[in-house]
Amino acid sequence: MSTEQRTFLQPWHRLSHSQRGTLLAYIAVFVLFIVGGIYRPSFVYPNNIGQLLLLASFVGIVAAGQTFVILIGGIDLSVPWVLNAMAVLLTTTSLGMDSRAWWVVPLVLLVGLAIGIVNGLGIVLFEIPPVVMTLGMNGVMQGLVLGLTGGFTCSACNSVAPPSVQTVITGQLLGIPAGLLVWLLIAVLAGLVLGFTTLGRRIYALGNNAVAAYLAGVNVRLVTVIVYALGGLFASIAGIALTAFGQQATLGMGDPYLFDSIAAVVIGGTSILGGRGNYWGTIAGAIFLVVLRAVLQEYNISEAGRSIATGVVILVALLLYGREAREV
């Protein structure tokens, strides 16, 4: 190792695995924009980039919760229908009225948080594997949405999101889509929590070695519940944002976000085993996924082809920087 000290690759070798992943993901995003721009120059006009980033923000917000959960070595499969249920809750209780928005939005966020807390409690109190708990919760939320809305035939189901909420996502501020500023705020908060708070240190400690974290005095159960609560909270924020963007809630609107949120986290260099990674990488992962699909669409590749390409790209990314150490 010491023989390589003076090569130009030295900074690269000094980076950790997950930092390399993050860096590669940002480089890949850059390359994708160039590839798209070569085919059609308007692909890289600020307007188009803004729209793509806004689409990426929905993946990024869901993936924020997923990042926290994966950092402690868990996984949240309840994302699709928690998101969908919260979107439906938003439209059916607000009925598109601005006068109701001030209490409906906090209500939706609180319910999302509560669902996440239930996930966490099931995992810590009854030792339910996270895969099973969140899978079951996904089914519960799906059934509740379908059952309570009568298969989405209720009269309130066609309500739109309150105009003020729509403005917060689709409006413009200094030429930037407002939704992007919301994402930026979330990114800064998530980055601060992970990087500069005791909670953040405890999340990494728990993900690296739960027993050691426990022995070091970390309240493992509390941190786990908080992390899953954040998963629910971010799913509900994404539900609100997505409804505001598309004006209405639809059945199955959350389905793509399970795959995308996990893929974004992993492409961004976070280890699926937990303990290593950060939200900045996830942001790159989210943008990468959305731009990749947009570029493939530019090149007239069918849905089937896009699905295959996404899978292959994830595998390549993993083989580049997601490999585990060799067993002794």
């Binding site: 339910i128 895969v131 708990m133 059934g143 069918s302 089937a304 390409a309 993993l318």
Partner: protein
């Protein structure tokens, strides 16, 4: 703390060997016994509701439709079991089922040669897909959950290329063979029993014992010279083969193909495995349990139907049931541990 420990040690020493062995058997098989208990309760509930609604006992038609509906989940769950035993998970099950289902519906013709050939082809595709998963997990040194989520996307795409629209056709002869009756016995019942017998043979083989060893402690298994990588690749490959069989069966029952029909099977196969008492942490459980779990899932739907519950609430009850079943097994295990 230390006094209670010595007390339980004394108690343990006082036990007779036979008593201990029974206790050991019980403790080892609690999850399986629990899931058989749930199955029996489900069957009783189903019978009561059925008799109340129809004023007669369910006959061979009900038996064969129930088993036909169970079989594709059951086959996928057996494959999932092998992977879960190693401590892994296979999320690509749904994608493999999609592909094999599409290929079977697109290519099978109404003659015995074609039926046999396509059956073998479909099973080979399933095994090949599993092999890729296994190679990526072992020699690629990647985590199973993320490898299989990526291959899931790939196979879903491939399935859409093979069969862009619902359609294709499965010859009626093939459907009769797999989903019809042999004499008066539903063929799905025969397959079901054959699967259980197959498992009784398989679980005594060196291959399966190795999988259990890996699931319990991979490092220790490796240190003892167990060919860990080879066994894991085997688990994913045979797992894929069973997923292929599930896709074939699904096509036979539906008599046509659908490139997205397999997608729910990823999650239902995991649910069946969990309800069957197989530990997701690896090394514990059996495929018989997973088959029981698959039956429980189908019966739950039948019970909900005959109880007149809004079918839109199906997922709600399935999800709740899955969570409660795991909670119950945790509580029983804790109770037994406090007993000892």
């Amino acid at each position: 703390m230390s006094t209670t420990e010595t007390k339980s040690d004394v108690e343990r020493a006082q036990r007779t060997p036979a008593d201990l062995r029974l206790h050991y058997y019980g403790a080892q098989n609690v999850p399986l016994l629990l899931s058989i208990g749930i199955l029996v309760a489900m069957i009783m509930l189903y019978l009561i509701l059925f008799v109340l609604a129809q004023r007669r006992l369910p006959g061979s038609f009900e038996l064969s439709t129930t088993l036909n509906n169970t079989m594709s989940v059951g086959l996928a769950a057996v494959g999932q079991t092998l992977v879960v035993l190693t401590g892994g998970i296979d999320l690509s099950v749904g994608g493999i089922v999609d592909v094999t289902n599409s290929v079977a519906a697109q290519t099978m013709h109404d003659n015995p040669g074609s039926m046999l050939g396509i059956t073998l082809l479909v099973l080979a595709i399933g095994a090949g897909a599993g092999l890729i998963n296994g190679l990526l997990v072992t020699y690629g040194r990647l985590q199973p959950i993320i490898v299989t989520i990526a291959t899931l996307a790939i196979w879903q795409g491939v399935a859409l290329l093979v069969l862009p629209q619902q359609g294709g056709a499965i010859p009626p002869g093939f459907t009769n063979l797999l989903a019809g009756n042999i004499g008066i016995v539903p063929s799905s019942l025969v397959i079901f029993i054959l699967l259980i017998l197959l498992w009784q043979v398989l679980r005594r083989t060196r291959f399966l014992v190795t999988l259990y060893a890996i699931g319990n402690d991979e490092r220790a298994a490796r240190a003892n010279g167990v060919p860990v990588n080879l066994a894991k690749i085997g688990a994913y490959t045979v797992g894929g083969l069973f997923s292929g069989a599930a896709g074939l069966y699904l096509a036979a029952v539906a008599t046509s193909g659908d490139a997205t029909s397999g997608t729910p099977l990823t999650l239902t196969s995991i649910a069946a495995v969990v309800l069957g008492g197989v530990s997701l942490f690896g090394g514990r459980g059996s495929a018989v349990g997973s088959l029981v779990g698959a039956c429980i899932l189908t019966l739950l739907l039948n019970v909900l139907f005959f109880a007149g519950i809004n079918p839109q609430l199906q997922e709600f009850f399935q999800g709740l049931f899955l969570i409660l079943a795991v909670v119950a097994s945790t509580l029983v295990r804790r109770f037994l541990q406090s007993e000892r």
